[in-house]
Symmetry: C2
Subunit: 287 residues, 2 copies
Amino acid sequence: MKIGFIGTGVMGTGIINNLLKNNYDVTVYNRTKAHAQPVLDNGAKWADNPAALTKKVDVLFTMVGFPKDVEDIYFGENGIMNAARAGQYIIDMTTSKPSLAQKIGQLGDEKGLHILDAPVSGGDIGAKKGTLTVMIGGHKEDLDHLQDLFMTFASKLNYFGSYGSGQHAKMANQIMIAGTMTGMTEMLVYAKAANLDLEQVCQTLQSGAAENFSLGSYGPRILKGDYTPGFFAKHFLKDLRIALEEANKMQLDLPATKEAKHLYEVLVDQKKLGNDGTQALIKLWWK
Amino acid sequence: MKIGFIGTGVMGTGIINNLLKNNYDVTVYNRTKAHAQPVLDNGAKWADNPAALTKKVDVLFTMVGFPKDVEDIYFGENGIMNAARAGQYIIDMTTSKPSLAQKIGQLGDEKGLHILDAPVSGGDIGAKKGTLTVMIGGHKEDLDHLQDLFMTFASKLNYFGSYGSGQHAKMANQIMIAGTMTGMTEMLVYAKAANLDLEQVCQTLQSGAAENFSLGSYGPRILKGDYTPGFFAKHFLKDLRIALEEANKMQLDLPATKEAKHLYEVLVDQKKLGNDGTQALIKLWWK
């Protein structure tokens, strides 16, 4: 079974390395070839564009930045969909629009492809360790067929239903994280102003009803002044925009998520800090 | 050592039962005597007012609803401070204003009392199990003296510094929880509208980067339609008001916490659901 992978960012690199470790034959494509060098050094092969890659493989994963990038690699010049042949498995792991996942899925049905939307949670550490949580939409039997392959980089596979429902589950995930990130940030801002020992505050809160993954994972990084991206602020803002666009379509008002989106807009669009990690939100208060 | 306890609510009852189990001699007072019946049945004695109780005991705990109630029992008619004698230990575990804790502490210093502010985290379950997290301000040696007593109902004692700093740490805790509660609520609202299996969504999110105590503890209660208070919505609103008042004094703008306060105001003040648990926030969307 030949595997293709488009997108060698933080997450993609971790996943590809796990596939290589499990002796899969992996060919990759990335817009900026230099960013693929680490996985090429580990034994991955290179293809010159999405179409060329699609023609070489049985199973193709994609994990790029924005819905616009997904549109480009699936439907653009030298795109996946024109090159794909019946029977191929094509899985988008980008966190992207549920409506786009539905569009790809329906076109895939017409062409006899096996399509899944499969965004993940668990961050850079999960990708590296192979312990990602995957949220999946599409035909259940297609997931069953790829179970072993997924488990080389995931510890949990969660099937949610038809095309786009993996993306919807991921949106729910990001809405939850919007709460933990804004809560953690404002908590630290308050605690610092009140002259509390911040390390002790983090430890104390983690042992009670305020406990959460963001605090445990990003609290210590903030206290060390480490804003390197486990997850890019610009990508999180993209996710919140998709979530609120979808909520809007469903006539839902989600004011706390809106406020989180607004804060990340200030960070990314005004302060131009989108290439920092999500924990850089605290820079809106701390200099 | 004779123990006094004022306030036999959900939390107080759990703590008193743990003191009784450890064979402490406990006398209690509560504004509504009927609410003290469960601990009286378990062997606690009764005093007719805060002053009468203060005169009988060596160590006095207070855990009431609002800062106004703390003012009343400490400074009102038949209040604690007029009845207290040098050498007594008096600990307020109500989540209350840092400035009020400072006032009680300074007056206590003048009178030769040992004062601590010691709000807790861990909810009704923590109080019952004796696994509360305590956040403490005051003189460190007074905490050291009471270590064993505290450990009958707590699993962690966290000393933060001078009078009021226990309350400040608790405010930080509540700001964090404002994020997890609004995030969880809006996440469930979104997931339900997207027709996802909500139980599976909760399980999936708890295994990844969205994981948090509120989701683990209150998610299942919401799915069962259980809005009984582990923690009263009206008390959480009180906490958020104190936190934002303190933030304001420190010239901090905390927009996500403000939005959370606004949502709980709608729940408590407009919808009159303050006697529900904090998880009832979802009733702003679900009928």
